[in-house]
Symmetry: C2
Subunit: 343 residues, 2 copies
Amino acid sequence: MFGSYTIKDIAKALGLSTSTVSRALNGSYEIGAETKKLVLEYAEKVNYRPNPIALSLKEQKSHSIGVVVCEVANNYFSQAINGIESIAYNSGYHVIITQTHESAAREATNVQHLLSRHVDGLLVSVSASTTDITPYQYLHDKGFPIVFFDRVAQAVNTHKITANNIKGAFDLTEHLIANGFTRIAHITSSRNLLISSERLEGYKEALQKYNLPVQPEYIKHCENGGMIQDEVEMALQELMTLPERPQALISTSDRITTTCIPIIKRMGFKIPDDVAFAGFTNSDVSESFDPPLTVLRQPAFQMGQMATELLIKTIESKRPIYEYQNELVDTELIVRKSSLKLA
Amino acid sequence: MFGSYTIKDIAKALGLSTSTVSRALNGSYEIGAETKKLVLEYAEKVNYRPNPIALSLKEQKSHSIGVVVCEVANNYFSQAINGIESIAYNSGYHVIITQTHESAAREATNVQHLLSRHVDGLLVSVSASTTDITPYQYLHDKGFPIVFFDRVAQAVNTHKITANNIKGAFDLTEHLIANGFTRIAHITSSRNLLISSERLEGYKEALQKYNLPVQPEYIKHCENGGMIQDEVEMALQELMTLPERPQALISTSDRITTTCIPIIKRMGFKIPDDVAFAGFTNSDVSESFDPPLTVLRQPAFQMGQMATELLIKTIESKRPIYEYQNELVDTELIVRKSSLKLA
DNA sequence: TAAAACTATGCAATCGTTCCCGAAGTGCAT
DNA sequence: ATGCACTTCGGGAACGATTGCATAGTTTTA
């Protein structure tokens, strides 16, 4: 606080020692009732608030958690951060957010930076270009609390919160198949990302269930996670000029989904008449799209909350933790016009 | 850092005192060349990083700035936060974000919370329901650095970054008038907000310039800033059942703009045939809307950057500042189909 | 040659808090 | 009356870093 009182001020004002004041404030049993009352009342009067910085130094805990995401200006992540903040705030932690912009190098320096700030734990969603996860492994081996959410580093055996990506992509694909589409293309993010392969997996499973062929030329990866407009454009270009053009597209990344729509239109295709579309996104305006978008929505807010709860529990755990949770949360398929039944 | 070295460790390892090590690290001239080299090399070797918490305690500076916004999951604010982070990160500050959800009470506790965390300054965009700005006035009078952005507390004489709201709303309105609309309604946020009255002002100016009447029944305020679906629905309901129904609507708040579209459609009106629409929003998918939305875009990222630069300059200023900047940044009108010329 | 000046380093206080340890005071049993 | 336990409180170290001042050693200067 500004011009705030310290324990020393209170001690001086009351003619007590700092130790006594500290103990009275912390409700220690070895302080006399009147003294305690005196201190408490005075502290209340001057609106005493312990200095969190001094506490951090003493306790060797910063009461802050570091967050690593690709960008905040993203539907999924801004909602997840909302969830993260809500839990952290109520637990007395503050949140330091860093953005990778899908760069592995940036991610590495962000982690360094967060560590140098002595965060008590890390909440991370790796970037699309991250391949080296040894820093996380190293930290985790040393007992440093890390929780991955959404984009997890599979090899690191720690807490993870992910959407049920396989089922989500399966549902999305099955929905298109049910609507009569057989040639369904799949546009996804970087191969490095587990979410990409899981979502691809779900897509393949659905095709196989309905005895449809999995055609490699129908599968496109955007290695920069859609951060570069050109890579999405290129993928669409290649797909839509195929001899056997796909009848439907599914996109399995938030940014790619929203990027696709104007490109498809600019190419002169009508959705869903020329090509149907459905994709993963947490945009809350997908209903207002032209056409209204069929989307697969992840519970971003809840995922942020769950990850934060787990992280804080890990941080505050007295004994080291060796049992790690791997939470799988359900997605929500919202069917709209963009994936309309084939005439 | 994890298992990180302290100055004390270095001192012990090198048989020096902590003062010498500290001075060597800070390049003090009064340290012998070899000693300095020795310390520097050892520090490099063990990857020494000064403990920011200890530094904060010593310097009485937390190197953190508090941010008060209504919500992160909002196009404008997530982009602004992106700008804030970018500057803060490079200046060695970290950012603590708090959300008001448009509640004045929540805002007050957020500010309290940030102060108790000893932030070095505040970046604030007040909530839609905030009327009491005395806490800000009090802090500012005490010399505490505050920069307002977007939603400013007019009465507090400090740095402010705002979009040119009057001109923005004027441009938007003039554009509709130029397209042949004369009965233009205005849906805006809370009356408490200066941005609301400025945008209303720009709207009125445009009407007056073209000799069109300013009709009070065409002006609707959403006191909760569009956080409540019902208030937007109610406003639209009242407008669209007016004997002389408006031909066009302008919305001057990001959230209200995106909320309006599905409601208007659900009411059975086609845009722009039954009613044209244009609004303030920083959504980056407004092009994909049905119909593509005519929008007024604020340079959110830059505004975040400017505000943060100003704040940090104020924080780090040696002498107290009495000259406050009031930056006005230009908006961008993007014309699309939703405001199409009246047939 | 002795004093002055300068160099290079160490000591200790400080920031705000906690906590170990010691000590004074009281009450009670022996 | 003496010892012991218990209650209640204070002293001071510690967390990690900076910094004014002291000090020891060396060099310069009168």
